[in-house]
């Protein structure tokens, strides 16, 4: 049985933050979970996926975040408790639905989990999604610890039903990817049978209806303002005349800092866990008798501005600071020492100097950037496109996936990237105005997620671009989740239909469509040359399983390769062209690590001396 389905109330268990949230939702009787994968939320979706096979929970990997949110919204409007999971930027994709769903509301509890990523450990930006709560008029909950993450995941459903609105549960990487102990609570039997009663004048967002629904949303927000003021998730701790307002993981760093500085008795903490709407009465009460207030929050000055405006309202003029040169940054994530230093500086507390080591004599250590795996199909395609375009000026709008790593030399195959799906649409724009030939890269998962509208645009407006679809049969970057083009029978999963990218592309009216097998180098180069010469939209679909995924599927392994030293002329064309991590240089000679090499044979086809040969046993 899945460990998160254990029916042992009171049992203590060490779990990942994402698992704590999954358990919290299960204890609330969640019956529908939807997602589009994205770090740092992916393990939460995986837990739901695994549990769905052993329980009544319905789970799906949806095409993109907007679809995921709409599926969950429908479930919640059919009386089914639902949760929708995504990374912070996913909410941008789902935002259109979210803004008006707030007008329509929900019948059963619905929770939107947004996993924010301060410092961008694995994201393209570090936006602060609390503002979505403000913009949509929805409640936002923010846990500081794993037990609280679990408790909030349960409570969020209750709150959602009380208000008739979805609730946003906002985490940051350090909650999702931290591990700690939780205590299991009672499991409830989820309601899995939905129903729908027609009520178009409350459920169809036409202007006349929406005007009324907006009024209702604002009334619900007023109700929420009362709840947040009563909420145990907004609490005061300590009793000193110095005040600190904090949230999320910042709260932990503040608590540790006060201990370290020995000023626990001088400081009162207002911990905000229910951050939208902010608790006006609690904050105003907290301001009373304080000398000054420090607001410790990662990201934007969301609470800081709220606290300051509440202070203004009651004529309180004490210093209220948060973001600023000597205090907290809007960039990156906090850490205990940084928070300690800001507190000491702001309140004038002695701070022991940091015990920094002098590392000036440490030699430069070669970097260890992430690299495409040995034998990665993307590497072969990048090489082949370069080869095919040898005498051309090309530029590459790229997209988000493992292939984004192609930005690094020697492949250097990424020139422009904004967000998922932007490769082909920006390719349309570039191709109109620049001289270089535009060749875009996109993965299969990203193609389904948001690449199709861009391709339709390219065809309809007759842009001159070549779109390379890197179809490695999986969503590799985020942990090999399925996508609509994946062969799920091969994963041992029944009941899914597989969508052919080739049929989609042809169906859209693309006339030049070529499927290549990237491990066949010369054939691929020839096909790409033809596609590049085509005026208009041409599409290359590079089909080969991601080797890491193929390994997980236990596909037959190929013999590794070696260098025939008698033939090798040591010009290192192979290393310089491919940068496959299975290759290394020893005693000034190129060699192949047989344990890493997956036998893709691409280097063997690149070597003009035919010096790279399979190992025979």
């Amino acid at each position: 049985m899945h460990k998160l389905l254990l029916d042992q109330p009171g049992k203590e268990m060490l779990v990942l933050g994402n698992e704590a949230i999954a358990r919290g939702a299960v204890e609330a009787g969640v019956a529908c979970a939807t997602t589009y994968p994205g770090t740092p939320s992916s393990e939460l979706s995986l837990a739901f996926f695994q549990m769905s096979k052993e329980s009544d929970l319905y789970f799906e990997y949806s095409t993109n975040e907007k679809v995921a949110l709409e599926v969950a919204a429908a479930a919640a409007n059919a009386g089914i408790r639902s949760m929708c999971v995504m990374k912070h930027v996913g909410v941008n994709v789902a935002a259109d639905a979210l803004m008006t769903l707030a007008y329509i509301g929900v019948k059963a509890g619905m929770v939107l989990l947004t996993a924010d990523d301060p410092f961008m450990f694995s994201s393209q930006n570090e936006q602060d999604n609390r503002y979505y709560g403000k913009m949509a008029g929805l409640c936002v909950l923010e846990p500081s610890s794993l037990p609280e993450a679990k408790a909030m995941a349960t409570y969020a459903f209750e709150l959602s039903e009380k208000l008739g609105e979805p609730v946003i549960l906002r985490t940051t990487t350090r909650i999702n990817h931290s591990t700690g102990a939780i205590t299991l609570g009672e499991l409830v039997k989820p309601n899995i049978k939905g129903s729908f009663t027609k009520d178009p004048f409350n459920l169809v967002a036409i202007p006349a209806v929406s005007r009324r629904l907006h009024t209702r949303l604002l009334q619900r927000l007023t109700e929420a303002e009362k709840i947040t003021d009563q909420s145990d998730y907004n609490y005061v701790q300590g009793g000193g005349a110095w005040g600190i307002v904090c949230n999320g993981v910042s709260y932990n760093y503040v608590c540790d800092a006060l201990n370290d500085l020995g000023v626990t008795d001088k400081v009162s903490i207002l911990r905000i866990g229910f951050s939208n709407p902010m608790p006006v009465a609690k904050v105003t009460e907290f301001l009373k008798g304080k000398e000054k207030i420090l607001v410790a929050e990662e990201g934007e000055p969301f609470m800081e501005e709220a606290v300051r405006s509440m202070a203004q309202e009651v004529g309180c003029t004490i210093p209220i600071k948060g973001k600023g040169p000597e205090l907290f940054s809007r960039e990156g994530e906090f850490d205990p020492a940084g928070v300690r230093k800001a507190i000491a500086g702001f309140f004038g507390v002695d701070l022991a100097p940091a015990a920094v080591l002098d590392l000036s004599d440490v030699p430069e250590i070669p970097a260890r950037p992430p690299n495409l795996c040995a034998g990665c199909t993307h590497r072969a395609v990048f090489y082949e496109v370069k080869k095919a375009a040898e005498n051309m000026e090309i530029m590459h709008p790229t997209d988000i996936g493992c292939y984004t790593l192609g930005v690094l030399p020697p492949l250097s195959s990424a020139d422009f990237l904004i967000c998922m799906g932007s490769s082909i649409s920006t390719g349309c724009g570039f191709s109109k105005f620049i001289d270089q030939k535009v060749v875009t890269y996109i993965g299969d998962s990203t193609f389904f997620h948001s690449g199709v509208p861009g391709l339709i645009n390219a065809v309809h407006n007759n842009h001159n671009v070549t779109m390379v679809i890197l179809d490695n049969g999986t969503t590799a970057m985020t942990g090999h989740q399925p996508n609509p083009g994946v062969d799920r029978d091969a994963m041992g999963q029944e009941g899914y239909n597989r969508i052919s990218i080739e049929n989609v592309v042809k169906g859209l009216g693309v006339e030049s469509v070529t499927v290549i097998k990237p491990y066949k180098v010369q054939k691929s180069v020839d096909a790409i040359k033809e596609a590049l010469a085509y005026q208009g939209v041409s599409v290359i679909i590079a089909q080969e399983l991601c080797p890491l995924y193929a390994k997980a599927l236990k596909r037959p392994v190929k013999k590794p390769f070696r260098i025939d030293m008698e033939k090798c002329k040591d010009h290192r064309l192979c290393v310089d062209a491919l940068g496959c991590p299975a290759m290394y240089v020893e005693n000034n000679k190129v060699a192949i690590n047989a344990e890493q090499c997956i036998g893709c044979a691409v280097c063997a086809q690149v070597c003009p001396e035919h010096a790279i040969v399979p190992i025979r046993d």
């Binding site: 203590e12 060490l14 770090t39 450990f121 694995s122 500081s144 610890s145 990487t173 350090r174 990817h177 931290s178 591990t179 700690g180 102990a181 993981v249 709260y251 932990n252 760093y253 608590c255 540790d256 201990n259 850490d335 205990p336 020492a337 940084g338 940091a354 015990a355 920094v356 080591l357 002098d358 590392l359 004599d361 440490v362 030699p363 430069e364 250590i365 070669p366 970097a367 260890r368 950037p369 992430p370 690299n371 495409l372 795996c373 493992c402 790593l405 890491l548 290192r572 290393v575 940068g579 991590p581 290759m583 290394y584 240089v585 000034n588």
Partner: protein, 195 residues
């Protein structure tokens, strides 16, 4: 209990997340509060994987620069790279068998000589225990048991109040049957090596 802050650095695939997991479970079983955090976004693509584990009475799950009490390094250059996480009172335990980054492997950038790296670490920190953990893992008939060898060495150091028996129980609860025996053997070899 006063907090003890441990940082584990490794290269993707070396299995440090399991080491962290086992330590977490063992702490839980010993009644020691534990908060852990990991960054493993690009683990499978050869990047660095870092875990931080805070034992004892603290709420933070991450560790600031210069504030590790113990640094457990799975690869010598990564141990050296993580020296900014240490201070002069930090205890360092490291594997000495190198795994040069790809950049160095293809002759772009120089992988520092092992002796130089160990000298630097030992000169700047309170103690250094350095040994070839990969060799011991092979001795235990389990090349993937490097993480268990290093766990054994860490427990032997006594810096973390977790007994060998508790750690071994956590290994039993967290490893597949097929690897159990060799994992325990690897743990013992590491435990002995750190004597």
């Amino acid at each position: 209990m006063d907090p003890v802050r441990l940082i584990i650095v490794a290269v993707g695939g070396q299995g440090n997340l399991l080491t962290a997991r086992v330590l977490g479970e063992a702490a839980l079983a010993s009644g020691i509060p534990v908060h852990m955090s990991e960054i493993h976004g690009m683990a499978q693509r050869g990047g660095v994987v870092e875990s931080s584990i805070v034992f004892g009475d603290a709420q933070s799950s991450i560790i600031s620069d210069s504030e590790a009490d113990v640094l457990l390094g799975f690869e010598p250059a990564e141990t050296l790279r993580a020296l900014n996480r240490c201070n002069k009172n930090t205890a360092v335990i490291t594997n000495t068998s190198p795994l040069p980054p790809f950049t160095a492997a293809i002759g772009k950038g120089v992988y520092p000589p092992l002796n130089q790296m160990l000298d630097l670490i030992s000169a700047k920190t309170a103690s250094l225990k350095a040994f070839d953990a990969l060799k011991l893992a092979h001795e235990a008939n389990n090349p993937l048991g490097l993480n268990m060898v290093l766990l054994g060495a860490l427990i032997r150091s006594g810096i973390i109040p977790i007994s060998a028996d508790t750690a071994k129980q956590a290994i039993k609860d967290n490893t597949k049957q097929a690897f159990l025996e060799s994992n325990l053997k690897a743990f013992d070899l590491g435990f002995e090596a750190a004597a």
